[in-house]
């Protein structure tokens, strides 16, 4: 099965205040400077909605989101355009892009930046037709997920947790005991 529209979320480990103008300003700067290798269009502000996509950069190929869904804030990379290559390439691409944005956020905000979890991240496939959230889908993609996580982390000491609510998007959390370094995976 050919997977597409892979999202990656890097969780924040520390509380992060998204209320003020600071992060909004950073996101507007990123759009102005077109800091990624993708077309960035605008900033959407949903900080008034609880447990949702608080603040987003809307892009053509992907969105970058400070996302508070399910009560866990993090930086989410939401891939909208299709990508050539293998499934492993696409899982890796999503993590690369999210890590790249995380590094930039840390660099821009300095000591005001959130702490990112170095032991956990999440993949989601934002397409129910391609990846219905079933045990079969998980089974079909497990080897790709393992290969991708191994390539990203540089070892295979991790666990995969499939979030199996069939109404939600197909989603897997990768947890490791050894911490990883964003600079290396970006």
């Amino acid at each position: 099965m050919n997977i597409q529209h892979v999202n990656a979320k890097l969780f924040f480990d520390s509380p992060f205040e998204i209320g003020g103008p600071r992060v909004v300003g950073v996101f507007h700067d990123w759009v102005r400077e077109q800091v990624f290798d993708e077309v960035l269009i605008d900033v959407a502000d949903y900080r008034h909605v609880p447990n949702g996509p608080s603040l987003m950069i809307i892009g053509l190929e992907a969105d970058y989101v400070v996302d508070d869904s399910d009560g866990r804030m993090g930086l989410l990379y939401n891939r909208k355009a299709g990508i050539d290559g293998s499934n492993v390439d696409r899982f890796k691409q999503a993590i690369d892009s999210a890590a790249n944005a995380a590094l930039l956020l840390k660099e821009t905000l300095g000591d005001k930046a959130p702490m990112f979890s170095q032991t956990e991240f999440q993949w989601t496939v934002n397409d129910r037709a391609i990846a219905p959230n079933t045990p079969e889908t998980f089974a079909a993609f497990t080897s790709d997920l393992v290969a991708s996580a191994t390539a990203i982390l540089g070892h295979s000491e991790f666990t995969l947790k499939h979030h199996d609510d069939p109404r939600r998007l197909f989603s897997v959390t990768v947890s490791t005991i050894k911490s990883f370094d964003f600079a290396e995976i970006a």
């Binding site: 300003g25 507007h28 502000d45 949903y46 909605v49 996509p53 969105d63 129910r128 998007l169």
Partner: protein, 758 residues
């Protein structure tokens, strides 16, 4: 953009209710034709608008970034999806929700679509629609198919068409209603959707239904067509009808609707709107969109003449069984509870529940039940919340929920004994905001966030005001809490600021050589009585000072309003000058840019402010004539016929190719004779008489040759087509359509295309 779009087409093929499925197939073909450059962008723009695919800010490919207007680096070389509208620029999809009525299954699909095609947010509008933003045009057919699978359409949600039919969210459960307007709103929706008499308007047309005169649920005073339920006694029998209003509307120049008929019997509801539509289509302004709403026609003619014309048109209508058929099914709309009624739990130590119950629960006319309002901040909820809401509605009711014009949801048929449990579940989903319908529950249009016409950030301001009012929370005086606040990003009034106690709309002012976002303060509009009177602008104040302005107005009202005096009455009594005086100093002494640069930006948007991003709106769309639309359809039909031929379906290809010629011929006939029917004999006869016999259709070189393709096709209708015959006919069909275009252009040049009706 989604790689799965074709999977949805295959998966839902043959499973969608008609005509929704066929219309989406047609739209997909039109997208393909536009990509091939075979449909003009102006026509494609109106086509997509009528399918609910709307433009968004920055879709012209540029954006002011706080320093300068820069190009957004979209991939070059693609078509546009409307004049000056970049193909890849994301757009909005407006989803019609007639009278706001939804069920859990539909909420589930909306949640999925928000996640997969949009930005994870479901947005409820002030006309009970749902909007999804940042959607790629290539994804719209898949999105529409998934909606159609749960019986939702985006058709005619935008453009110069009949928009969503709105109605009381309390219809059927309200203590004050004359009767339940739901079945009538449903019948009007079905009757007008795609009706040939509503395809040639110069602008949009908005109908609404209200169950009573005193509340604001339907806002009949501000709609093109407003139906207010009334009854009368005749020979001891109760008859149902409507006090029928026409010609209302907000926008830049608000007009109160006028009474067309004090009692329009329900049997006359559909024929009369058909007659109104025909008069509007025939006589409404087409060229100047600023004067093209029905209100201007009524203003120009006066109500007496308008009524005369409509009644004359009514007499001419050919009877349609649908006018009254729906009356047999009125009773089937009656909703039932899923759980036995009960009593409300006593207020307890749970202060949050108490506040929520006080503002958000409302007694139903049926003993033992309440409605519960889910107050949405700025009309937004996440996909997860939408799913959770569906679950809650499914658990406590038979799936009865409606969107409201105040951008909220109302859950109906909640047993009083379930109120506390319902609160707890809503609360867990982040959906238990208290203060529904109070000053905290601010209504806002999209403004500069996504609207191309936005001048100031209405949502930014509304979010800021809301935050401050929530902080004040319980300290707010009841007289202040009861006020309504509504915000629009510009004078077009999509936030309905005219019918609010306190309204704001975005304007721009130059201060110390810089552009500064401002809002006009509009005071004294009336939300009650179906939006019974409109407020007036008092003064423009810088955006960053509006929270202070709101405080001042609130304090002024608290000080000087009489007990039980409505805010609108208070404003009428004290006068504009006095109200303005309390705000006067907020218009002076702006900080210099060096001292406070934030004054020169808008709420929630730290970019230095500019109006450079304002674009051309699509609220009305381009005025595309019925001729242009019909010709687009004819071309699409030939295209589809070719696809059929490629798929080996020669019989279908031949029949569709002939149908395309008929469509084109009818388009031409309609320029002279509006009422031509779909009957092929009549179309061909009228075409022959008007265009062949008069030689108007004759090509300077080929004479009447191309018309003969139509005549031969018509004579041989019903024949068998093998591959060769079908191919031959498709070639003729192409040539005939080209000849129709050429004929039309010759007539335009000669100024002949305004022929009289038969």
């Amino acid at each position: 953009m989604k790689t799965s779009n074709s999977l949805w087409r295959d998966r839902l093929s043959g499973k969608l209710p008609e005509p929704l499925g066929e219309e989406i197939d047609n739209f997909e073909s039109e997208i393909e034709l536009r990509k091939q450059g075979k449909i003009e962008d102006k026509i494609f723009a109106e086509t997509r608008l009528r399918r609910g695919a709307y433009g968004q800010r920055y879709d012209n490919g540029t954006r002011y970034d706080g320093e300068q207007t820069r190009e957004i680096p979209y991939p070059p070389g693609k078509n546009t999806k409307g004049p000056g509208t970049v193909w890849d620029a994301p757009g909005m999809v407006r989803i019609k929700i007639p009278y706001g009525g939804l069920n859990p299954e539909q909420l589930e699909v909306l949640a999925e679509l928000a996640e997969e095609y949009s930005d994870d947010i479901v947005h409820v509008t002030t006309r009970q629609d749902v909007q999804l933003h940042f959607v790629h045009i290539d994804d719209t057919p898949a999105l529409m198919r998934r909606l159609a699978a749960v019986n939702i359409t985006t058709r005619e949600a935008c453009g110069n068409s009949v928009r969503n039919v709105t109605g009381c969210p309390y219809a059927g459960v309200c203590k004050d209603q004359a009767f339940d307007v739901t079945p009538y709103a449903h019948a009007l929706t079905q009757f007008l959707l795609g009706h040939p008499d509503v395809q040639n308007f110069g602008r949009k047309f908005k109908p609404t239904f209200s169950g009573c005169g005193q509340h604001a649920c339907g806002l009949t005073a501000m709609h093109d067509a407003g139906y207010l339920a009334v009854t009368r006694e005749v020979d001891g029998k109760t008859e149902r009808g409507f006090k029928f209003y026409v010609g209302g509307g907000l926008g830049a120049v608000p007009h109160q609707a006028k009474v067309f008929d004090e009692f329009l019997p329900v049997e006359e509801m559909l024929p009369m709107i058909q007659a109104v539509a025909r008069v509007f289509a025939k006589h409404g302004e087409k060229k100047n969109r600023n004067r093209a709403r029905l209100k201007f026609l009524i203003k120009t003619w006066g109500m007496e003449k308008f009524k005369e014309e409509v009644l004359a048109e009514r007499k001419k209508l050919t009877p349609d069984p649908r006018w009254t058929e729906y009356l047999d099914s009125v009773d089937t709309f009656e909703e039932k509870p899923s759980r036995p009624g009960g009593a409300l739990p006593a207020m307890n130590g749970n202060e949050r529940y108490n506040r929520w119950a006080k503002g958000n629960l409302r007694e139903q006319r049926q003993d033992g039940y309440v409605t519960a309002t889910v107050a949405l901040p700025l009309g937004d909820l996440t996909a997860n919340q939408t799913r959770a809401l569906g679950d809650i509605v499914g658990k406590y009711t038979t799936g009865t929920i409606r969107a409201t014009v105040e951008q909220n949801f109302v859950i109906r048929w909640v047993s009083k004994s379930d109120a506390a449990a319902l609160f707890a579940e809503l609360d867990a989903a982040g959906l238990a905001e208290p203060g529904a319908g109070t000053i905290v529950d601010i209504v806002s249009c999209p403004g500069t966030d996504t609207c191309k016409l936005g001048i100031s950030s209405s949502r930014g301001l509304a979010a800021e005001l809301r935050k401050r009012l929530i902080e004040k929370g319980a300290q707010l005086d009841q007289a202040i809490e009861d006020l309504h606040v509504k915000v629009s990003g510009c004078f077009n009034s999509c936030g309905q600021h005219h019918v609010s106690d306190i309204g704001f709309y975005g304007v721009n002012r130059i201060v110390q050589g810089y552009q500064v976002p401002h809002f006009q303060v509009v005071l004294g509009g009336e939300w009650e009585n179906n939006g019974g009177s409109y407020g007036l602008p008092i003064v423009a104040i810088a955006s960053k000072r509006i929270p202070d302005a709101l405080d001042r107005i609130s304090e002024f009202s608290l000080r000087e309003r009489l007990a039980n005096e409505r805010f609108s009455a208070f404003m009428g009594r004290v006068g504009k000058a006095k109200a303005r005086a309390v705000l006067d100093d907020l218009t002076k002494d702006a900080p210099s840019h060096d001292d406070d640069a934030s004054f020169y930006s808008d709420w929630g948007d730290p970019r230095e402010y500019s109006t450079g991003d304002i674009g051309k709106g699509e609220c009305a769309g381009e005025v595309v004539t019925a001729y242009e639309f019909a010709m687009t359809s004819a071309e699409r039909m030939v295209f589809d016929a070719q696809v059929s031929l490629d798929d080996g379906e020669s019989q279908k290809a031949g029949e569709d190719g002939y149908a395309a010629m008929l469509k084109a011929a009818k388009a031409l006939v309609q320029i002279e004779y509006d009422d031509v029917s779909e009957d092929s004999d009549e179309v061909v006869e009228e075409f022959k008489e008007r265009f062949y016999d008069t030689k108007k259709f004759f090509d300077p070189y080929a004479g009447g040759k191309f018309a003969n393709y139509l005549f031969t096709g018509h004579e041989n209708a019903g024949r068998r087509f093998d591959v060769e015959a079908a191919r031959h006919l498709l070639e003729e069909s192409h040539l005939f359509i080209e000849a129709v275009h050429a004929c039309y252009n010759r007539m335009r040049t000669a100024g002949l295309n305004h022929g009289a009706s038969k």
